[in-house]
Symmetry: C2
Subunit: 171 residues, 2 copies
DNA sequence: AATATTACTTGCAAAATGCAAGTTATTTTC
DNA sequence: GAAAATAACTTGCATTTTGCAAGTAATATT
């Protein structure tokens, strides 16, 4: 299984406008869409934490600045990754939700979760991660079902700073 | 399948030192490791483009600044994601290589590739992406085999700006 | 009508990124 | 052996991004 064709000639492009895409690689393009400091975390919280409103993010304790949060929500909406709907019964509030394009990021987030839990010290219980690793399809199906049915309950908790089991194992 | 326990109480931490981790979530922690603008692209290029040296990155045409490239390579080494070895026959050169921890990011990059190709206009041929989607395990096994055997040939090409097939389909 | 809530906006500071020239160590060329 | 070239950086400064903290406008509650 070999996918590489002849390598394109090297082409530095000095002074190229910043808005122009640097490459046609899907990884680059994906990271252009949500590779900044906060976007994937916002997507995660919409996906698995049950977040819906600006205040949910603001009070999550993760420390995002409100001007940045506003900016990111607007950009994610502009890219079709989330929607923003005014709440019918309270005109002050906006309800944010992942689109089909947004929920399709579930596999990326699942792999980041698994990598992080496997290679770094985290607050995620090992049993939980092992179960998710062994049941990727089911996890993704469940995440998608909850999204489709607008289940407001969080699928994953906010993990605390340090997993004491993992801390003990480290010694 | 429901993983959420009781949500931890909201805890804003004003004035918390920046070096402190914001949460114990593996996704957050992963992004702390390589969530900046360039790190995942460097990992991708080591993984599937056959890159080994500083010059490979510098001449890739992607536009990374040399001070940033130096900084990222050093940080990725410090985090155990890559190694940097002087070349035995030429003391000027350093050979960079993914570690076990680094190659374990292959699933993340594969999912990013698939998402990007599915949802954005890219230079990746549809047939290629479809094949990769249908054969995730084989693709990952092949990427890992090439890494283990230090195969210098690129596994994926540098995709050009726009896939004409995709452009035609867009009309 | 006063107060509180929600989602922002604003001006400015701090941090991160990038440019382009320069440096150091090493190899190649003559 | 000296000069030139190469490889991987370093440096000073400019630009961009992120973040702080106070403020604003619309809307709901009391």
């Amino acid at each position: 299984m070999h996918f590489a064709s002849n390598i394109d000639s090297v082409s530095n492009v000095p002074g190229r406008p910043k808005s122009k895409r640097r490459s046609g690689c899907p990884v680059s393009i994906s990271l252009e869409r949500f590779g900044d400091r906060w976007s994937l975390l916002i997507i995660r919280d919409l996906m698995v934490r049950g977040f819906r409103t600006f205040k949910d993010f603001e009070e999550s304790g993760e420390g995002i600045a409100t001007n940045i949060l506003t900016d990111r929500l607007q950009k994610l909406e502009a890219k079709g990754i989330i929607t923003a709907e005014p709440e019918e019964t309270d005109g002050r509030r906006v309800n944010y939700r992942l689109t089909e394009k947004g929920i399709d990021l579930a596999p990326v987030l699942l792999e980041l979760l698994i990598w992080g839990a496997r290679h770094e010290e985290t607050g995620a219980p090992c049993a939980l991660i092992t179960k998710m690793e062994k049941n990727r399809e089911e996890v993704l199906a469940e995440v998608r079902r909850r999204w489709r049915e607008r289940d407001p309950n969080p699928f994953l908790p906010k993990f605390s700073e340090r997993n004491s089991e993992q801390a003990r194992r480290e010694r």
